[in-house]
Structure formats: structure tokens, C-alpha cells
Symmetry: C2
Subunit: 149 residues, 2 copies
DNA sequence: TCTTGACCCTATAGCGACTATAGGCCCTAT
DNA sequence: ATAGGGCCTATAGTCGCTATAGGGTCAAGA
């Protein structure tokens, strides 16, 4: 049974535009077409898209997934590279959790700085202007990026 | 004492290009210029840039910071909005931590799936193809985005 | 005096992973 | 016959920077 793009989208929880985007990026092969030029997908495509989505859910970049797909399509003797990839991801995730925990304590101390009115100025704004003496902040000033929380 | 852009950058741990970008985005006012057209910054600018950087380190978007700056420039009687903003951020951060913890357990179970060789196929790849029965994954399939780990 | 290098300027394009918009064809139901 | 949904392509926009190109300014050293 062949699926149209909308059906594949529904099955995989992936948006239609995203599927087309993956095709453009070379992650999905160009599928069959109907005589009306509609894309038609088979079982292999479903599995491949699921693979891509699982990888994305595990925080892998499209570039990494591309390489994983090559390994998957042409198996070699060892999977050292794959092991390293997973290990690296685990470490990155751990670092992100630490950063977020720290950010959370900051935000909470900020939250307690407001007494509910602006007499004498809002404590939150004041703290944001003055900043706080914090190793974390100093460190983050030197390596910006990934600051979107 | 007036500062050139590079000096301001050094003081705040912000890159020169980023300062110019904030100006273009209307977060920083257009500063004085020397007769050679170099930007010159005063104390007010330093404080304002520090404010912006602190907010960014707390994960606020430039749009939110823009609004905060308006509040800061034109104080009103209440800071409900600011309180809600911080509260919302704390909740978002908590959600991200939960997501990442879950992701970490997934990655770890994945890591243990590889026995070091490819005889019969790599367990990691197999798991990625098949996915795992997991509420988390199902949920994420329905609300994508924020998947960059 | 010349040149080197660090700093400054503007304008524009690129990053990643989508998302949105415009403009148009196809198909079914009312 | 027309309205609504799904499909197509191509292009631009999102966010918060970052990089590149192409040029002017300025102080120190050979």
C-alpha cells in the first residue's frame, strides 16, 4: 500500500512540509509519483522517516543523521563511530541539564526579588540591571550561544 | 569616560558585531559618533547592554527584552507582567529539564544496545529504526520543535 | 617614510531546521 | 458550479547571531 504525503505525515507525526524538506536535503529519496505528480511512499520510506524522526527526537542534527543513514545503508564491520556519537550526545545533554538547573536557581532568586509594587523600583528589573556576582554568568559571557531557554 | 565599541565589548563580554546587531534591532540607542564616525558609548549604554546580556543569560528573547526595556524606561505602577514573564520562564526551564532527563535515559538505553560489532546488525541502529514504545516519543511526534539537544 | 596590524565602518549572506506565503492544479461533495 | 481540502513548486522569513567582503583610521616599529 502506497501512501500520499499527507498520510505519511499523519503516520509519523511529521509535517508535510518537513517531509518535503528532508527530501530536498537528501535524507529521503525522491519517491515515486502518480501521473498527477503526487508523491507516493512505500514501507521503506516509512521506516526511513521514522528513523530520522527518532534520531531528531534524540537531538541529532540532520548532518549526523545523514551519516548514520549511510552507515545504515552500507554496514561496515564496526560501529565505533555510532557509539561515540551517542556517548557525545549523552554528555551534551548532561551539560545542558546542569546549565538549566543553574539558570533555574537564578530565575527563582530573581522571582523572589519583587515585592509586588514599583515603589522604589522593581527588584527584578534592578537585579537584571545590576546582574549578580556569579561564576556561571561570567563563564557564559565568555562562551555565548545556546542561551535560549 | 566614553568608550569605543571594542572597549564596551570587552567590558560586557559581548561581541562587537552583537552590539551593532542590538543597535540595528533597536535594543540599544544609536550612540554618539566621533568625527571619524566611530561609535562612542557612555555609562547609560553600558548599563543597558549589561541588562540585555543578563536577560539573554536568563533565556529571554530579544522581543521580551525589548518590552522589559520599555517597562524599565517608563515605569508603571505594577510589575505583574514582569512577574509573569519570570514565572513562565521558570516553568519553561523546568519542562526542558524534564525533557532532557527523559532524553538522557533514552540515549543511555540506546548506548547499551551495541555489543561492539555489526554481526547481525548494530543494536543502536536497529533501535533507531524501530523506535521504542515510549509515551515521550509519541508526545514529541505531536508537538515537534525544541528538539535540539 | 613606509608598512604592518589592530581597530573601526557598512552591507550582505549564511547558519539550522524548519515555517509561512503565494500562486496554482486536482478531486470530491454539495 | 463552487467550496474545501489536499497536493505541487518556489521563495522568503524565523531567531540570534556569525562570517565575509571591501574599505577607512591610527599608532608603533623598521
Amino acid at each position: 500500500m502506497k501512501l500520499k504525503i499527507g498520510e505519511l505525515a499523519k503516520m509519523t507525526g511529521c509535517q508535510v512540509v518537513t517531509i518535503r524538506y528532508y527530501e530536498k536535503e537528501g535524507l529521503l529519496e525522491r519517491p515515486e509519483r502518480t501521473e498527477r505528480n503526487y508523491r507516493l511512499y512505500g514501507d521503506g520510506d516509512i521506516a526511513r522517516l521514522r528513523f530520522i524522526r527518532h534520531c531528531r527526537q534524540h537531538g541529532m542534527s540532520l548532518a549526523e543523521i545523514r551519516t548514520l543513514l549511510v552507515y545504515s545503508d552500507h554496514p561496515t564491520g564496526s560501529c565505533d563511530w555510532i557509539n561515540r556519537l551517542i556517548r557525545t550526545h549523552i554528555e551534551a545533554v548532561e551539560q545542558q541539564i546542569r546549565d538549566l538547573e543553574h539558570l533555574k536557581t537564578h530565575l527563582e532568586s530573581l522571582y523572589h526579588k519583587c515585592d509586588g509594587n514599583r515603589e522604589g523600583g522593581c527588584g527584578i528589573l534592578k537585579s537584571l540591571i545590576d546582574g549578580e556576582n556569579c561564576q556561571y554568568c561570567q563563564a557564559r559571557q565568555r562562551r555565548p550561544g545556546q542561551e535560549r531557554a
